[in-house]
Symmetry: C2
Subunit: 340 residues, 2 copies
């Protein structure tokens, strides 16, 4: 016989899994009547909680799950550092997983974390995640879920992110204020929301300053938006627009650094002939010559805030208090350096 699950009890009584779970654990925010109904049915069906879920309720599963698309990124390393610091203070362990931008792998990892009975899950979505059933499954299992950086508007959980459109708008507005008018943009994949939003911020800054948008100044860097992409697009930009482009805003620092390499090699002076603005403030942006003006994403702060919110929700669940999903925008800031 297959063991009876919370889901079956919930289905039979027409209530949510969370309510069933709370009723079985005598949480005060479930009515006496519902509690009795749930317990009677559980008894009748011979429901027995699995050992991991049991661990969770007994406060033994002091473990979080964390899924990131790729760790070999200065930004994500900083986020992890922030999350681990907060978890450490709460005496929690963090299981770290890497989806490698693979939706199927992300789904499998979510299942594994649920089956392990982690107390909460933090995810930055892979670029290829467009179906969200696995995320709703987390929520339906009564496990707090927090999305950060690469989030989806279609999932009802807490989110911590930056305002990509506003940040890009501010970055490009700064270039315009400095007198640059022919501003090129190296954009990322057509797909992930942050790449779209940074492009839209760029466009809006031009429009608000009465600069006509020239699509020929926008280069698509969809080869993982890497260093080579930046180098090659810079080459193309110069051959297409030599003398008729005075600034460049890139969707991330890596592309800007590739462009700097090309400009340096070809004696194109930065910022005299072309000014540069990156995005992310990777460590190397500060050490390259010329140092790169860029947008600081505050990954460490994002990690800390994400973990803080998740712990709040874990505590709410343990105390039987309900909570509303939060949306927190981490402020970005322009870092002014030699390249503009």
């Amino acid at each position: 016989m297959k063991p009876v699950s919370l889901k079956q009890i919930a289905k039979e009584l027409g209530i949510s899994i969370t309510t069933v779970s709370k009723a079985l654990n005598d949480y005060p925010d479930v009515s006496e009547k519902t509690r009795k109904k749930v317990k009677d049915l559980a008894l009748k069906l011979d429901y027995s909680p699995n050992s991991f879920a049991l661990g969770l309720r007994k406060n033994e599963s002091k473990t979080l799950g964390l899924i990131i698309p790729d760790n070999v990124h200065y930004f994500f390393s900083s986020v992890i550092k922030g999350i681990l610091e907060v978890a450490e203070k709460h005496d929690y362990l963090v299981i770290v997983m890497q989806s490698n931008e693979d939706y199927e792998l992300e789904k499998k990892q979510v299942d594994l974390l649920i089956s392990k009975g982690v107390a909460g899950i933090l995810i930055s979505l892979s670029n290829r995640t467009h179906i969200f059933d696995h995320l709703n499954k987390i929520i339906n299992n009564g496990i707090p879920l927090l999305l950060f950086d690469k989030i989806s508007k279609n999932v009802n959980c807490s989110k911590v992110f930056i305002d990509d459109r506003k940040s890009a708008y501010e970055a490009v507005s700064y270039l315009i204020k400095k007198g640059y008018k022919r501003i090129a943009h190296f954009r990322g994949d057509l797909n992930p929301q942050n790449s779209i939003d940074r492009f839209l911020g760029y466009k809006k800054a031009l429009a608000d300053n009465n600069i006509e948008f020239d699509p020929s100044l926008v280069y698509l860097c969809n080869n993982n938006s890497d260093f080579e992409d930046g180098y090659n697009s810079a080459k193309k930009l110069i051959s297409d627009h030599q003398g008729n482009v005075d600034a460049l805003f890139t969707v991330n620092d890596l592309l800007a650094i590739g462009a700097i390499k090309y400009f340096n090699q070809n004696n194109i002076k930065i910022p005299e002939q072309i000014a540069l603005m990156g995005f992310s403030n990777w460590f190397m942006a500060s050490v390259i010559t010329p140092a790169l003006t860029t947008v600081e994403q505050n990954g460490f702060e994002m990690g800390k805030k994400a973990a803080d919110i998740l712990f709040h929700e874990i505590n709410c669940i343990r105390k039987g208090i309900s909570y509303e999903p939060q949306k927190v925008v981490i402020p970005t800031e322009l870092i002014f350096r030699e390249s503009s």
Copy 2:
């Protein structure tokens, strides 16, 4: 009454904890006589295994623990990626912890991982770890332990590392072969073994090529060996030895990149006036101008090899087969670029 532990049984019978554990689990490499003695005593003392240890034996704790000194390092990010990739294939989870180069924190994290009943533990030691009781505790609990990169010779477990002395020797020999004679060295903290070994490799290369060692060409960068350290030491090097130094070998790429910044700003031509050799092959070494000649540490390979060995040992324990600790040296390679 405090529950009886494996340790007490081991102490009373004068045998190891591992043997007690194996006897209780009917592993074939424990004699019938010992098995009976252990089981009788366990029965007499009312020994009951804790649930986590039970989970481990039942093959349920498919979890590894990983402690690194600092994640915001390209090298460690690569190692983590390698470890996660192998763990994924075995359907194992990895709990990642960061000691922040703090011995007390590392000790606490080890205790936590043991209490969680992880199946194996991987550690790169903090620079401040000189007592190894916590590591021996892992071994005494019958949990496979693997040290990587920053290891200790005083712990009897498997180790995966690079040959720092040989790698530095090869790097400096290459500079000498190219005709450089006055080679400065920016070394790291006096303490960690890899910093000492790279310094010794530098010295030996000079000696083997009949170049007199000049201590005034060695600069101690003990401020976490960071970018600023490299910048400031380069400034000092030039003011101390202008015209009488033709190459520089740094203990890591970060110091080299700091030095490049100073040389670029002061129109000191690389490699014409001073050649540069780094160590680690951080991502930015390839994108900086001039691109940095350096030693590739193969962090990703190190992570994969470390995890492979650990899984071998976990399987041995599960099958009751004994195993010998392994020492694996990951080959490094010189990456030739513009700076030398």
